[in-house]
Symmetry: C2
Subunit: 512 residues, 2 copies
């Protein structure tokens, strides 16, 4: 299907075809309707405000292409709406600041003129993080951080690097790689998401078991707020009051615009080992992952698909396991990888695992960033496809798994495929990542919203968190209110009012 | 000297004598003046308010002994003031709540009647954390958490335990030990400090290299605030907005009273190895510690004394090293300890270390909680003795070390002993812990305040944090303002006003 880039994931050149048999598996009868030409709302901002913004930041675009490219994130709902011509989230203008001072200047002008400002990194939010509430504002601008993409400093002694927030994953790895270093942060959105976005949403990469989450990597940060700058992080850890870095991490552009990050870096690994393991059941495999997370040695990457995900993978050629497929990746110095591999193998065998060799590992590595492209192909074919995720303590995990699966199957019907894997582990718990594929109903947006609400209710009722690594955005706000309660909500509101009294920063996200 | 317990550290039975030679080393001529009988201010709270408080919490004491025992923390300034009869920080009453509901009820009554509430755990603050600003309030009460000392639950699958916040270290270890578990958190205040205090001040234990800081152990918490309860922590880690747990950790009783904590626990180690190492200089030793922190294997305990601390230790019989003494402790399963010990030895030898065997390790273990008792003996003998600490990135550490040393020596004169050790390490940086001993001037409180201010200025000017693990209290507030800036300060104030609009919670601490 000829879907323009503003309504698809990533680079058109990397689009994938639907694997054989998927149409039949899902009983898909007809492809999605053709894509409508989106009707952009007229630019609302008056000329004098645009002039004031241009005085703060020279790079201002108000053309259709720029506005459309910043009209939404990349959730399935975002894509479905764009496909049917709904681009009402498009900003009036796109500003591309050159440096921290321009960001700060834009926030001052926007405060005076009541312009909503949506910080925009890679544009890959899947929780409605780029869908601002425009009511009550003179207009909306996207603050595209793409020009702020430099390496500021490397501190080899402390193994830290200071990088601008607009840098995207591959370029950051390139800059650090020249110095023999890596961040080691590889979320599925790696090719497009920005460092600032990672920080603002508490991203978690596929190598989180070994390298930590992105919030673990953040040692210092600089942010511009409407009321002034924040420069935080004088030590890796401190007892100088609450850790305010942790208040900016996960703030989704509602408290400030992160412009610079000081991050933990590590030497580029010189050895890699990615292998597959098979477990007789999700329960047995989960216990094996738990043992690794609690007693070590901890792999760099550790994932376990449930029976359905394993079977679908096998049926579409992406795996050969029966039971449940686990991927175990180790990276580091060669002797360390060898020693850990031996320890991992001993423990996984003792927990009922059967090694499958390097082929499943290589297949996983090859396809690690491909799922969002596959989603486009599924949408083209008339399927609904989306993911959601959560995390909780190990003892609650089976209950959360069952409750969410049941909620999705009930909402979407027996024809839906509900796949799940554990993608991130901790000593005390783990995340669950669900993928849902079903034939589209007449209104697939409504179809998904109903299913997602049921799943979110199940997550919260089971005691799990509404998001392990996607964030809150607009989609998860109602459930965040339950999760943090009225006092937690009051804390977030108070911080928001203190740093952004006019409420211009990404209005409508995060805060219940 | 016969100093009553309210003006000394810990248990009188554990008091220590001054080692031989210390008087001469310091040129101490005469002992401290005799201790004055403290004049307690009259109870300010009117009878109807006391009645209302008693209705909220049955256990209320207004006797002199209870008030004196809660009159101050355990900084040298606190002790010096108590020794000279100043007990103006004494609360009007001491309340000992039985459960969370009583804590919440006390906060409601205190809000209505404008009573300042000072949450009191072990009473071991060394930064003026128990020295409330009483002006503008009807009176002050200490909320002693000592009765809330139960084990609520152990989750063996998730390796977590839920414990009441008034539990002290030894009892918590006893309760967990019955189940084969340990927290592994051993700060110098271990024998007296409470779990709630650890959380409220971001405590860091001597085994932090291997077991993490206390804030690393906190997975969930329950707190009472004047505006309602907070129940946080549905997963080890989450992307559901900013991590609000991190806002309560380090909040020093100013945002709420932590009543219950869900903590990471681990199996009790079945093997221990504590050995000493000698390094030719602090610089060489620091580089060796850095290598362990960055490349592993990481010991459980890792400390390095500078040349002066090592020499003083040797002169007073607590060590035998020339150069700089390091203590390397390993705990865990026997095979793991053996494997790590071999890796540690290889790396430390390669970095210029010489092993000293188990004797220095045993001596350190034996004396690990004794330093505060030694301080009492020094105060008795007419010496000023106090500690301060900071942390920063490895690349800044030598500059911070030099600047703080110089500031202290300049302020206290050449006769002062300024000792330092690295007590906590991270991949990106480490802490510095200074001990200062000098002959007392005519006004030792003023003498120390001047020296401490100079050291604090040097810490902040060198880019380090004003506290790595003691907290902010009242003593560090001016420097916290520089560290987090006006926007950070506004954030703290906003949260405070949101959860405690009457400002009754530990007024005067933390917030600049």
């Amino acid at each position: 299907m000829d879907v323009p880039s503003f309504a698809r994931w990533g680079d058109a050149a990397d689009a994938v075809a639907l694997p054989d048999g998927v149409r039949e598996l899902l009983g898909l009868r007809e492809p999605a309707p053709p894509v409508a030409r989106p009707a952009l709302p007229p630019v609302r901002l008056p000329a004098d405000v645009l002039d004031a913004l241009a005085a703060a930041c020279a790079d201002v675009a108000t053309g259709d292409a720029a506005r459309l490219a910043h009209a939404a994130g990349r959730s399935t709902e975002d894509l479905l709406r764009l496909r049917r011509g709904e681009a009402d989230g498009a900003p009036d203008a796109v500003l591309r600041p050159a440096d921290h001072a321009e960001v700060a200047a834009v926030l001052r002008v926007a405060t005076v003129h009541r312009v909503a400002v949506v910080p925009f990194g890679g544009g890959t939010s899947v929780v409605g993080g780029l869908r601002p509430v425009a009511g009550g504002f003179a207009g909306t601008v996207a603050l595209d951080m793409g020009r702020m993409c430099g390496l500021v400093d490397i501190d080899h002694v402390s193994r830290t690097a200071t990088l601008q927030a607009g840098l995207r994953g591959p370029r950051a790895e390139e800059l650090l790689g020249d110095a023999g270093l890596t961040l080691g942060h590889f979320p599925q959105s790696f090719q497009f998401a920005s460092l600032g976005g990672y920080a603002a949403t508490r991203s978690s990469g596929q190598a989180s078991a070994g390298n930590g989450r992105f919030d673990d990597l953040v040692l210092g940060l600089r942010a511009a707020t409407p009321t002034g700058d924040l420069d935080l992080g004088r030590a890796p850890r401190s007892a100088a009051g609450p850790d305010l870095r942790q208040l900016l991490l996960g703030s989704e552009g509602a408290f400030g615009v992160v412009t610079e990050l000081t991050l933990r870096v590590r030497p580029r690994p010189d050895a890699h080992s990615y292998v597959g393991w098979s477990f007789p059941s999700f329960e047995v495999g989960s216990a094996a992952l738990r043992a690794l997370a609690q007693d070590g040695p901890l792999p760099t990457v550790l994932r376990l698909s449930d029976e359905t995900e394993t079977a679908v993978g096998a049926a579409t050629g992406a795996g050969a396991a029966t039971g449940c497929l686990a991927i175990v990746g180790l990276e580091g110095p060669a002797d360390d990888v060898a020693a850990r591999a031996a320890g991992v193998e001993r423990l996984l065998r003792a927990h009922g695992g059967t090694p499958l060799g390097g082929e499943p590992g290589a297949a996983w590595l090859d396809g690690r960033y491909r799922a969002p492209y596959l989603r486009d192909a599924l949408l083209d074919a008339g399927a609904l496809a989306e993911t959601l995720e959560t995390a909780t303590f190990w003892s609650r995990l089976p209950g959360t798994y069952r409750a969410v699966r049941e909620a999705l199957v009930t909402a979407l019907g027996a024809g839906a495929l509900v796949l799940c894997h554990i993608s991130h582990v901790y000593a005390a718990g783990a995340s669950l990542y669900f993928t849902v594929v079903a034939p589209q109903a007449d209104d697939p947006v409504d179809q998904w919203r109903t299913a997602k609400a049921a799943a979110s209710d199940a997550i919260v009722a089971s005691g799990a968190t509404i998001s392990h690594h996607h964030g809150v955005g607009t989609d998860h706000r109602p459930w965040l209110a339950t999760e943090i309660g009225p006092v937690g909500t009051a804390m977030l509101r108070a911080v928001k009012n203190a740093v952004d009294p006019a409420g211009i920063l990404n209005p409508g996200v995060l805060i219940p």
